[in-house]
């Protein structure tokens, strides 16, 4: 049993209205000094079998084919057991 965690974020140059809304709200709540907020997605995927290179490869494939849209998003993949 291994766990794959994929974080997906909008590319820096893509406008992130959700992040902006959060930043605005934090300001109104009196949290100051916040210079930027970006909101992304996180996928936690449990997979049978070992946390090995093969899995790392497949995880990367999952991310690039399905979980992230590379036109607008970047992703990072983590595999732990």
């Amino acid at each position: 049993m291994a766990r794959v965690v994929v974080d997906v974020m909008l590319k820096p140059e893509i406008l992130d209205p959700q992040g902006q809304a959060v930043q605005g709200a934090l300001g109104r709540l009196g949290f100051d000094g916040v210079t930027s907020v970006r909101q992304g997605k996180q996928f936690v995927i449990d997979v049978d079998g070992p946390a090995d290179e093969t899995l790392r490869g497949r995880a990367d494939e999952m991310a690039s084919t399905l979980l992230a849209n590379l036109v607008i998003e970047d992703y990072t993949v983590r595999v732990d057991d």
């Binding site: 406008l15 209205p17 399905l66 849209n69």
Partner: protein, 225 residues
């Protein structure tokens, strides 16, 4: 015999019946296609209708893009088959790479349903030949993720090649770059549109009948060829 236009139903498609009605009102025969179909049963054109396929849970169109029928649609499109993607259909076309760019969360962060004024920018596509260049129309718009984005290069290219099919007038309802409401591929047979022409085909149920020409355009085009 009437020309046959396929309307694909994905799990979660909502405007498939409406698209079929629009095809009929335009004088075509609507053919129901199922997301698991591997062929297009010989239709002359295809509409990917609006809705929330797979709940739009991951990204709009991200999952439908892998439906078996899409392989046939992509193949057909590359061979010149007219394809119109409306709203969720537009999102699927972008996800599947038939059209450049992507559609992102409305900048208002709200779903918006409104009667939207558009300018038809390109009348050379399979789906807009029935309009006059620069014609202004009003059709419903309803989406939560309709903000069109692409990098500057891609946007400039779309402009340069006259592939921006329609632009928002008066209000930009979702933060689309350069007020883009719809685009086409280089050949002009594949069109993606965020607003809903199929909801503007009857005076009784739509704000106008301005949308009908999308469907009559493709039918006349097909008759000629």
């Amino acid at each position: 015999m009437a020309l046959r236009i396929g309307v694909v139903t994905f799990p979660g498609s909502l405007d498939d019946r409406d698209a079929a009605r629009a095809v009929r009102l335009a004088g075509g025969e609507a053919v129901a296609l199922w997301h698991k179909d591997r062929t297009l049963s010989g239709v002359d054109a295809v509409v990917l209708p609006g809705g929330f396929s797979y709940g739009d849970y991951l990204r709009c169109g991200a999952i439908s893009r892998f439906a078996p029928v899409m392989a046939a649609v992509v193949e057909g499109a590359q061979g010149g088959l007219p394809v119109l993607g409306i709203c969720n259909g537009f999102q699927i076309l972008c996800e599947s790479g038939l059209l450049p760019g992507a559609l992102t969360r409305n900048d208002s962060l709200h779903f918006v349903c409104r009667d939207q004024r558009l300018r038809i920018e390109s009348v050379t596509t399979a789906w807009t030949s029935g309009y006059t260049a620069g014609q202004e129309i009003v059709v419903p718009l309803k989406n939560g993720e309709g903000g069109y984005v692409a990098d500057q290069l891609a946007l400039d290219e779309l402009e340069a090649e006259g592939r921006i099919v329609a632009r928002y007038l008066e209000v930009n309802p979702n933060g689309s770059r350069r007020d883009i409401a719809g685009i086409s591929n280089a050949a002009g047979n594949v069109v993606g549109l965020m607003p809903h022409p199929e909801h503007a085909v009857e005076p009784l149920t739509g704000p106008t009948t301005d949308g009908l020409a999308f469907f009559t355009s493709v039918l006349t085009r097909l008759v000629r060829s």
